[in-house]
Symmetry: C2
Subunit: 202 residues, 2 copies
């Protein structure tokens, strides 16, 4: 398999982290979305009409975009996705929460501050998006105050939400006020099979 990705993107890290937990590997192909190759016709036609990474090339004729769909594809049938019908829906519940209520705030503010390094140029947008990130962290903290992981045992819901939460500080989000989130972050990082965001092999 080939993973078209950006090493510093949480959405791409979550795919590597899932692969590592499952003892699987993929060739990593770095795509610099800042300079635009993900918008070439070749990328759009062959890999993802929506022009985003990550994209997992399962084989030469099969390319799967959308980070959380990739996680489901890799992990369905393994210990990282529960078998119970309601628990499966809960895993998806938190993965949709990740993409709708968490990523557009925490990852986006981090992108402007940390990746583009332009907090001044994006000051208005950062001010608009920061409260949504705090709201997402509050929801997580409240849930995690009564649950060790998001759904029963460790699942891809934890992996999906860990990816950008563990670097939320790079977007200026202070995790001191979210003690249950911090305990959960430490717990996830201690799971057997864990790799750091920087790791390119495992």
């Amino acid at each position: 398999m080939r993973l078209h990705q950006m090493q510093d993107s949480g959405n791409c890290y979550k795919v590597r982290l899932t692969l590592a937990h499952l003892g699987q590997t993929a060739e990593l192909i770095e795509v610099d979305i800042l300079t635009g190759p993900s918008r070439t016709d070749e990328f759009l036609d062959r890999l993802n009409l929506n022009g985003r990474v990550p994209v997992l090339e399962v084989d030469d004729s099969t390319a799967l975009p959308e980070s959380n769909a990739i996680l489901w594809f890799l992990a369905e049938g393994t210990r990282l996705v529960p078998e119970d019908k309601l628990a499966r829906a809960r895993v998806l519940q938190w993965m949709f929460f990740d993409q709708y209520s968490h990523e557009p705030y925490i990852a986006t503010v981090r992108f402007w501050k940390h990746i583009l390094d332009d907090a001044e140029g994006f000051a208005r947008q950062i001010e608009e998006r920061t409260p949504g990130g705090c709201a997402a962290l509050s929801v997580m903290d409240r849930h995690l105050s009564q649950n060790r992981f998001f759904v029963g045992d460790f699942t891809i819901a934890d992996i999906a939400l860990y990816a950008y939460t563990h670097v939320a500080g790079e977007g200026g989000f202070d995790l001191q006020g979210y003690p249950s989130v911090r305990l959960w972050l430490a717990d996830v990082a201690e799971q057997t099979g864990h790799i750091d965001m920087e790791a390119r092999s495992w």
Copy 2:
């Protein structure tokens, strides 16, 4: 089952549409998110910490939020979710596309213009969000120019994307430029079991 919902929300309509296709019913409980009851402690604690609708109460002790997770819960194991592993991931791919690349633009602009009826007050936001909606429609049109439905036969991916696309005009999006999307909309509306957004019983 009880569905806490807003009749005019596409995210809630997609749950009713899925129920109708599956010959299932639920008691509809109207929640006016504009006046705030979804932010009461009772709603947050018992139904959804994230304070949004739809929420499906499966029974007195089980509440499931996130529209597309509800669709998966209702439809897994039926003809509306394929059995093949890759096809299942593709259904999720388009449902994550719906929540990340489509809803925050098309549904949000429609919300300001049609639900709040305040195009003037939200002029800057509408201008910022409209191009993203057009981009989502282009991706859909390109895919549908070569595929009758999003993934093989009619699935919950079509239901998820139909919900806000069929009222995109209420957000000022002109579908004339997206002929394959228009054919697909007509095709979805002709499926046996279809109900309109206004329907409260089926």
